[in-house]
């Protein structure tokens, strides 16, 4: 396959993943804001912006005025925001058009349809009463694309580059949420057992769609260490760092097998995956959660860069 096509499919799935994750973050932020006073709500929306790395871009547009309506419209549809959900869906579609010959008709149509639906839904500013509807549509469309992908795509290198895009992005997203919220998970800094903690913890889980799975696994008991462990190390949870890296390892192994050679990216990945496998939550907390996440994000970025080089995404 062409290097440019690998690049296109990689970014197609990164953008789709990021659009979906942005919707989940908005949803978690919205719920949190509903349950708290306006000052705390503003803080919550601020932390959503920080997680997405859009604090500065937002400030350039709206100044210090952080309100829910403005924040979610900025994140969903603002023409001045090149990383809005709408912009990402457009970019995803542009990439899908570019790699049209590498994807099935079902995958293409689901991406194209997602773009048509969201373009219409996001044509006007989104009111709070319509927010749920819009977020649902974003999640549903992402699910549709994923389904078309699983059901119709040949399991070849194209499929692997799609998976690599998805899981590089997802790992980055989960790590960012942990990075912004790590203090919530540090027992020493929170008044353990208060209802506020429970709400905060649940919200971290909600922003990665993990609240139900965690409650089910832990019989409803919330504890910060358990949550951190779940999001970082639990290979059963599809948005944990360990899960993402297991998937990445699988896709990279398929590529090495199909192509008959390994690359530098394989070495980076193997080192990281082995390290994750040897860790437990105690060692992470001993090292410092914040530092661990920082290193993880840097390594994830380096891995993505190396894959793009090794497989000649660009000249």
């Amino acid at each position: 396959m062409l290097g440019r096509s690998a690049n296109g499919i990689f970014w197609l799935f990164r953008y789709l993943e990021r659009a979906e994750n942005t919707a989940r973050l908005i949803e978690a932020g919205f719920r949190m804001a509903l349950t708290r006073d306006s000052g705390a709500a503003g803080e919550e929306w601020g932390s959503v912006l920080t997680t997405l790395g859009m604090r500065a871009a937002y400030a350039a547009r709206h100044g210090d005025d952080v309100t829910g309506h403005q924040v979610f419209n900025f994140l969903l549809r603002d023409r001045d925001n090149p990383a809005s959900v709408l912009a990402m869906i457009e970019l995803a579609r542009t990439n899908a058009r570019m790699v049209r010959t590498g994807i099935t008709r079902e995958v293409w149509e689901s991406v194209n349809e997602s773009w048509m639906i969201l373009r219409d839904l996001l044509a006007r500013p989104v009111a709070e009463t319509r927010l749920g509807l819009v977020l649902d549509a974003i999640r549903r469309q992402a699910t549709l694309v994923r389904g078309a992908m699983e059901g119709t795509m040949l399991r070849n290198d194209i499929y692997d580059f799609a998976g690599i895009g998805t899981f590089v992005e997802r790992a980055d997203n989960t790590a960012r949420i942990l990075d912004v919220k790590y203090y919530v998970l540090l027992p020493s800094l929170s008044a353990v057992g208060t209802s506020l903690d429970n709400v905060q913890w649940e919200n971290v889980l909600r922003s990665v769609a993990g609240e139900r799975a965690y409650r089910w696994l832990n019989a409803g008991q919330m504890d910060p260490r358990g949550i951190a462990s779940f999001l970082i190390l639990d290979r059963r949870f599809p948005r944990s760092l360990a899960f993402c890296y297991a998937e990445l390892s699988g896709h990279m192994a398929y590529l090495a097998h199909a192509y008959g050679f390994e690359t530098e990216a394989h070495e980076i990945l193997r080192a990281k995956d082995e390290r994750l496998a040897g860790l437990n939550i105690e060692t992470i907390f001993d090292q410092g959660l914040h530092q661990f996440i920082g290193e993880f994000l840097a390594c994830n970025h380096r891995l993505a860069q190396q894959i793009q080089r090794d497989y000649r995404f660009v000249e």
Binding site: M1, L2, T94, R97, T101, N112, Y259, E315
Partner: protein, 492 residues
């Protein structure tokens, strides 16, 4: 850029609106009875519930939007992607009519290839005095880089679109030959898919010849022209597109997808080790046959336009050394030039030794004094076109022009007569379209697609029918209110 089905030859037929021209009705006789070609269809149609066609039309549009069958409009940001309107009444050609048409097309395309070979070698036809030398001299479509070189398999025009118009029961004429990069074939294929999805039972009642294997035939035809440097069992074929912003990008992707070929851009390719190679995730891999949808001018910045980023630097050297096949061959534009067009009857006769089966549209070459005198006297009835013009620019449509416009144009014509040709305003045949008020006749043309390989000439039965949707209009161009129809050739 002579790239877009929707936008190329229709413009040469941009003869404006003139409702005074009724045209041959392909469905109905003068007394309102149904012609044999449409008998089966009309019987089916009359049995359908009212409102069916309207409902199906809405379904078809939604289908096209979802599948992304759109064409891009340059410079229109908000409306970047538009649909070419599709009309659900088919255009029907009988088996007998098609036999004659395909014989004529076969003959004409054979002649075009022989003509190209001759032009780039001994120029016998010029020596014989059948085509004036001045038509080749100073003609930008003639590429000196092709002189003395024979493309792999001896094929110049791997894909040809022959634009036909009809003026009577047996009167089909060639309006234009498209020997560069004819487009629109994806509409031919998708229109059929759409019709079969909308009206499956119709196809069990009327036997229509299949078109769906066109991409396979194209792939086979291209592979049969592999260059001398190819070794192995299956040549690597790639479709070269200018990119996603090109108006016909959908078609480029569609054809690559259907052929199982890579869809490449200039930036994916480079010349290495005497071959043209594409950058793949495993390294550089040689390409054997390149189906380019990029104009000659942009193909190689070293040989042609130095500013082009759409092509591949050095590809012409590789080509001349037998390292790659380029389809269509560079320099084929000299054969579908409007000045050359008027010589096509002589060209066909010169190379095939036969009388042309398909007629040309009568054409006056203004370079000839007698013709010029006639044209000057009849400007109000004629269509006058620039010889090298395309895109409908610089032309006069007599019947729809004011006295003032005609006077201004005649000054230009007299200043440079050899820059113009003139043709009568044709009464194009009509086929009904579905309108709010029911069926109504509209003018049509037809572009069959022809594949050429060393094994022979392969014509897909049917082609693309373009239809002027405005009442009385003769403009089938999609950017000016034209649409398309499924084109049926009936099985015997």
């Amino acid at each position: 850029m002579k790239q877009n089905a929707a936008q190329s030859s229709g413009q040469s037929q941009s003869q404006g609106q003139s409702s005074s021209i009724p045209g041959y009705d392909e469905m109905l006789e003068a007394d309102g009875s149904v012609r044999p070609a449409y008998a089966g269809y009309k019987q089916w149609l009359d049995a359908q519930a009212p409102g069916l066609l309207k409902r199906k039309g809405i379904e078809a549009e939604a289908f096209f939007r979802r599948t992304g069958i759109t064409f891009n409009v340059y410079g229109a940001a908000d409306a970047e992607e538009r649909l070419i309107p599709f009309d659900s009444v088919p255009r029907i050609i009988t088996a007998q009519q098609w036999r004659k048409l395909s014989r004529g097309i076969d003959q004409r395309v054979r002649a075009l290839n022989a003509f190209l070979h001759d032009l780039y070698h001994r120029q016998e036809i010029v020596r014989a005095g059948r085509v004036p030398e001045r038509l080749l001299r100073d003609n930008a479509a003639y590429l000196a880089q092709m002189a003395g070189f024979t493309p792999p398999g001896g094929v110049y025009t791997h894909i040809v679109g022959v634009d036909l118009v009809r003026t009577g029961e047996d009167d089909f004429m060639v309006l234009e030959d498209n020997a560069r990069t004819p487009s629109g074939v994806s509409y031919m294929l998708e229109n059929r898919e759409t019709m079969m999805a909308m009206f499956p039972e119709l196809f069990t009642r009327v036997r229509v010849r299949d078109v769906s294997d066109y991409p396979r035939r194209l792939a086979r035809s291209l592979a049969a022209c592999a260059p001398p440097a190819f070794s192995g069992d299956k040549p690597t074929v790639a479709v070269l597109t200018p990119g996603i912003h090109n108006s016909a990008y959908y078609e480029h992707a569609f054809l690559a997808d259907q052929m199982g070929a890579e869809l490449v851009e200039g930036s994916d390719l480079k010349v290495t080790g005497g071959r043209v190679a594409m950058r793949t995730t495993r390294g550089w891999q040689p390409v054997d046959v390149i189906y380019r949808r990029v104009d000659d001018e942009y193909l190689d910045p070293l040989s042609f336009n130095p500013n082009s980023v759409l092509g591949v630097a050095g590809i012409m050297d590789v080509y001349r050394a037998g390292g790659i096949t380029i389809a269509n061959a560079p320099g084929t534009g000299i054969s579908d030039d409007k000045a050359i067009y008027s010589f096509m009857p002589e060209i066909v006769e010169f190379y095939t030794g036969e009388k042309p089966i398909l007629a040309n549209v009568p054409t006056w070459r203004c370079s000839e004094p007698d013709a010029l005198a006639y044209v000057m006297e009849h400007l109000a009835e004629l269509v006058v076109k620039e010889v090298h013009g395309s895109g409908g620019y610089g032309m006069l449509i007599g019947p729809t022009s004011s006295k003032k416009e005609i006077a201004a144009f005649s000054a230009k014509l007299l200043a440079r007569p050899d820059n113009y040709i003139a043709q009568p305003t044709l009464a194009l045949s009509t086929v009904p379209i579905f309108t709010k008020a029911g069926l109504a006749p509209r003018h049509v043309d037809l572009r069959p697609y022809v594949l050429v390989s060393p094994h022979g000439i392969d014509i897909t039965p049917g082609g693309l029918t373009r239809v002027a949707l405005k009442k009385g209009s003769l403009v089938v161009n999609s950017s000016q209110g034209g649409g398309t129809k499924d084109s049926w050739v009936l099985d015997d």
